[in-house]
Amino acid sequence: MNADRIIAVRNNKTVYRDGERVLKVFDETYSKADVLNEALNQARVEETGLNIPRILEVTVIDGNWTIVSQYIKGKTLARLMEENPDRKDEYLNLFVDLQLEMHSKVCPGLNKLKDKLSHKINETDLPATVRYDLQTRLEAMPKHNKVCHGDFNPSNIVITEDGTPYILDWAHATQGNASADAARTYLLFWLNGDIDGANKYLELFCAKSNTEKEYVQKWMPIVAASQLAKGNAKEREFLCSWINVVDYE
């Protein structure tokens, strides 16, 4: 490996740049199946024609599973927002457009969003009654087949110098209901402490996709529960306040 530099370090993975390539190196705690799933998702989404880094190889380096993909030269949208706070609205606009373009694609090979959410709900340590309510709610939601990113946030968008946006990080990609994907993005803004950004995002998404806000909101308890499954103790109280609601009777 001839890694020039480390681009990002996470709990259980590190991202390196190696010339025109990027190596996403997972440590041994990471499930092999998840790595391969991420690689497969990325390969499948490539076929939709969306602008994403092309996957080059999946390999094991020093005992660590690694996804090698094309390096996209540019800045993440998160960084751009930070650097140019006055242009945030413009970036948000672009961000929503990009998400909607992605939702316009179908990719039959991806996992089903509903299945994924249902598993996540069962993985949580929530009381059985709450899980039952969440499952009932999920059951009643319309099932679609749009490409959903599952972690669509500004840090996963890179804008190249000529302004072309690329979407990265397909670990959580599924096919399903776009409003669930939007609810998830909304939650990610909140978790990131950007409540104003969250609200602006939701307004924009609803306006551009001609969706009722209430419809996106119906997904909030479900996406909150799936986030809870990650077991982040700091988020727990906040997520529970979103989860602990009732469907009217």
Partner: protein, 905 residues
């Protein structure tokens, strides 16, 4: 008991076993008698009733929601009111029977009911659903909510034990012990019907399970208080309802909309009765507490007002009944504008009643479609407001001056509203039921209907005067019996100018009856001619109409009569075709109020003097319409041969064959009866015998003329009741297209029609209950027999009949093809399709024994045009096809037996 060995249902396998077992129990139960069922119903209701307090305590303890004392009422209600309402209702076996009409309704159970029970009414709904299931011989498997499973199961068990002790099959009620979504879905998929009460998620899941579902959904009840309302009654009713079980009844008021003129009074009354009005900042706090991301916070459901206030950081006295937020917006983004399942109420000020209705409509749109709406007003003066409210709101229950929680469930504040804890929300709420759900929704009703024959009738003018020279005698009656003063004569110019009307007018003069004559009727009368006559009638104001002439004059006079008495009627309405004269869309106007109708035929053919028909041509479209209604029946017919003597040969022949066709068609008609059969045969015998003589020596042979005059009227009475057939349908259009005399047109088509009708395996037979199978061949043979035409079998008899008719036609100078009447071939072919469709649609087609396809009508027209070949059916399989097979003999015998039986019948 079986329950001791009952295994816990906590897995797909266990549930599948239970479903199989319950299904078996239900199969047994479905054979129970009404008496057995009623005993079980009573025992179960009694047991549930007795357990009302422990069950209420369990429910509050387990769910942490609601008020024990109110849950006691709900349990009590579910047991007692439901029992009382249905105790005497028949739910097993024959529900009703009408032997005369041959109809019977039989109640059958639906089978296994999947009952989804909500957390808000976990015991009372369980009692309700199990009781109505038992009453209808259904089994129930309950899917409780995990939050309330213990108390729901306890309630079910109490009902089950009592039912089994009273004789119900073991295990007729069962449940899921450890509910999860997979089991609930499986249950809904396997059940025969789903009774789903719960949130919209559950209801949607029920509907998408693929099984019939009676699901009911959420409400968002607005209560409007009009300025005319009794404010004290209104406010206290709302408090009573809203605090019931801490606001957890789905019909509970969620907002009050108050007319501005009583707003302050309403507010003061709420305050005086222990309700708390939230201040501006407190409203915001409560908003954010009760709703999270637009969803209702689970922590506040069914909690007392002070607890909710506490959660929101608002201090209110512990005894506070309701938290009221005064808000303006009814937009979905306003939290207060939604269902709150707690003693939290929104209050709106309305500019006027219309503003109030608009707000109520918008609130219902926020998740309360199909459920309930309430209004308070003065019912003695404000019925119009109730009507408007009822028509505008898309809710299935509209409650007036009634607390909605206790009012919507029925039988408490109104005794005709069915008691129920499952309230249908109609299509607006995505439901299959819009009423309060009850036993009728859990039954399959079989309807057993026996074949019945239609009632038929025999109708004729009240007076038919006959015999040579009877006219003056009959006319006397107009004066001396009826006291008539003004007669309007309708005739054609030939008869008028040749003095044929003189005997009538002279007689009228002698009697001192004023009269006038309209003599512009042309053959095949038109609508405009009828209009002109009616115009003159209106000017003259007759009390008697005398139609004098051939069919043309009589038919024209009938239409003038209608237009005179009912100038408002639309001709096209009268001409609208019907399948059954009793079921026709158009109601013919009542005739005879202004004028008495006398018909005096001068040709022996149409029978119009005794028929309810009038054939008229719309000169604009050229279409010939046979109108029919018994209102068109003349009041008096005078058959006096003196007026027939002068008829020329052509008329005698054409009219005579017309009468012949009437008798033939009436005899084979679907509506033929013993009454018309005799008339038709008699007419035919007379026509065959006397038409040649009347034709040859019409001017002198009084006997032949009289016989023909009578025969035409007798045939008229036959088809006035049995109606005609496709020969007349085709003749009407042929006559209209090419101006052929009506009798000639019939003569040209009749052979085709006889051959067409005589088919034993027609493409389609006519539809009429008494017409059991195609048998026109036999009917024609009967005519041949009556005419003594000979023949070994029915086919020979048919051929003899056809030959006799053809001979008669030739004898009276009628040509044998349409072509010979000089109708251009090219034109005929060009207009054929149009003529075919019109003939198919003619009023006479419906009673033909064989239902004609348009292609068949076309073929008959073509055959009649060239006169070379005749109608034959398309080839079909027949008896010959089974010849040579092993069971040929068996089949043939059976076939013969069937034929003989059919003939006897």
């Amino acid at each position: 008991m079986e329950n001791k060995e009952r295994k816990i249902v906590d897995s797909v396998d266990a549930l599948k076993k239970v479903i199989a077992r319950v299904r078996e129990a239900q199969r047994k139960f479905s054979t129970y008698s009404q008496e057995q069922v009623d005993e079980i119903f009573k025992a179960a209701a009694t047991a549930a009733n007795q357990a009302r307090i422990p069950l209420a305590k369990m429910a509050v303890e387990e769910t942490g929601m609601g008020v024990v004392e109110d849950k006691v009422i709900k349990n009590h209600y579910a047991a007692e009111y439901v029992y009382n309402t249905y105790k005497n209702v028949r739910t097993c076996g024959v529900l009703e029977e009408d032997k005369a009409y041959g109809i019977k309704k039989i109640a059958e159970p639906v089978g296994v009911i999947a009952a989804v029970i909500p957390t808000t009414n976990p015991t009372s709904t369980a009692i309700f659903k199990t009781l109505i299931a038992l009453k209808t011989r259904n089994a129930v498997i309950i899917s409780p909510h995990p939050r309330a499973k213990k108390c729901t199961i306890a309630a079910a068990k109490i009902v089950l034990d009592a039912a089994v002790a009273a004789g119900a099959p073991e295990g007729i009620i069962d449940w899921i012990d450890v509910p999860n979504i997979e089991l609930t879905n499986l249950l809904m998929k396997e059940a025969d019907i789903i009774l789903a009460t719960g949130g919209p998620g559950m209801v949607k899941a029920a509907y998408s399970s693929g099984k019939p579902a009676i699901g009911v959904g959420p409400g968002n009840t607005p209560a409007v208080i009009d300025e005319s309302a009794d404010v004290v009654l209104a406010v206290n009713s709302i408090i009573h309802s809203k605090t019931f079980d801490n606001g957890m009844i789905c019909a509970s008021e969620q907002s009050v909309i108050v007319h501005k003129n009583v707003y302050d009074a309403v507010k003061a009354e709420f305050a005086a009765r222990g309700c708390y009005f939230l201040k501006e900042d407190e409203i915001e706090k409560v908003r954010k507490t009760i709703f999270v991301n637009g969803a209702l916070n689970a922590q506040i459901v069914g909690q007392p007002a002070y607890k909710i206030a506490e959660l929101a950081g608002v201090k209110v006295p512990v005894g506070t009944k309701i938290l009221i937020g005064e808000v303006d917006s009814t937009d979905p983004s306003e939290e207060f504008a939604h269902e709150k399942l707690s003693p939290v109420l929104a209050m709106y000020k309305a500019e006027d009643i219309h503003d109030a209705f608009e707000k109520a409509e918008r609130l219902v749109a926020n998740g309360g479609y199909g459920h309930t709406a309430a209004i308070y007003l003065d019912v003695t003066t404000e019925q119009a407001k109730i009507d408007e409210f009822a028509s505008r709101l898309k809710t299935c229950r509209i409650l007036v001056n009634t607390p909605s929680s206790q009012g919507a469930i029925g039988d408490i504040y109104n005794f005709k509203l069915a008691p129920s804890l499952t309230l249908g929300c109609g299509s607006w709420g995505g439901n299959s039921v819009s009423e309060n759900v009850g036993v009728k929704h859990l039954l399959n009703i079989k309807t057993v209907v026996e074949r019945r024959e239609n009632m038929l009738w025999f109708r004729a003018p009240e007076k038919i005067y006959i015999k040579k020279g009877c006219l003056p005698v009959a006319l006397n009656e107009l004066k001396y019996v009826m006291g008539k003063k003004r007669a309007f004569i309708v005739t054609d110019s030939f008869l008028y100018h040749n003095g044929y009307t003189k005997p009538i007018t002279d007689r009228l003069d002698e009697l001192g009856i004023e009269h006038t004559t309209f003599f512009d009727v042309l053959p095949d009368p038109t609508l405009s001619c009828a209009k002109a006559g009616a115009e003159q009638m209106r000017a003259f104001q007759p009390d008697t109409i005398i139609a004098f002439g051939g069919g043309s004059a009589m038919d024209a006079a009938k239409i003038m009569w209608v237009m005179y008495e009912h100038p408002e009627v639309d001709f096209m309405d009268m001409a609208m075709r019907f399948m059954d004269i009793r079921k026709r869309v158009y109601t013919f106007p009542k005739m005879g109020e202004k004028a008495y109708f006398v018909a005096i035929p001068t040709s022996a053919g149409t029978g119009s003097e005794v028929t309810p028909f009038a054939v008229i041509t719309d000169e604009k479209s050229g279409v010939k319409y046979p109108l029919a209604d018994y209102e068109l029946l003349p009041d008096m017919a005078i058959i006096d041969v003196d007026f027939h003597m002068s008829a020329p040969k052509g008329l005698t022949a054409a009219a005579g064959i017309d009468a012949l066709t009437h008798a033939l068609e009436a005899y084979v008609s679907l509506m033929a009866t013993d009454f018309t059969d005799g008339l038709a045969k008699q007419a035919l015998q007379m026509i065959f015998k006397y038409l040649p003589r009347a034709y040859d020596n019409g001017q002198t042979d009084v006997e032949a003329r009289e016989k023909m005059a009578n025969a035409a009227t007798i045939a008229g009475m036959a088809f006035a009741n049995a109606f005609l057939g496709v020969c007349h349908s085709m003749a009407h259009k042929l006559g209209a297209f090419y101006h052929l005399p009506h009798g000639i047109a019939n003569a040209l088509m009749i052979e085709e029609v006889i051959r067409f009708n005589a088919s034993e395996a027609p493409a389609k037979m006519g539809t009429f209950p008494q017409y059991g199978y195609p048998h026109a061949l036999r009917r024609y043979a009967e005519i041949a027999e009556a005419l003594n035409l000979g023949g070994e079998n029915d086919h020979e008899k048919l051929e003899n009949l056809i030959k006799a008719i053809n001979d008669l036609k030739a004898r009276v100078g009628i040509k044998s093809s349409i072509k010979e009447y000089g109708i251009n071939e090219k034109e005929f072919l060009e207009r054929l399709d149009e003529m075919v469709e019109q003939a198919f649609d003619d009023q006479c087609t419906g009673t033909n024994p064989r239902y004609p396809l348009m292609s068949e009508i076309r073929q008959m027209y073509l055959n009649a045009y060239y006169g070379k070949k005749h109608f034959v059916d398309e080839e079909k399989p027949n008896e010959a096809d089974i010849a040579g097979t092993e069971d040929e003999n068996k089949v043939k015998k059976a076939y013969l037996r069937a034929r003989v039986g059919a003939k006897r019948a």
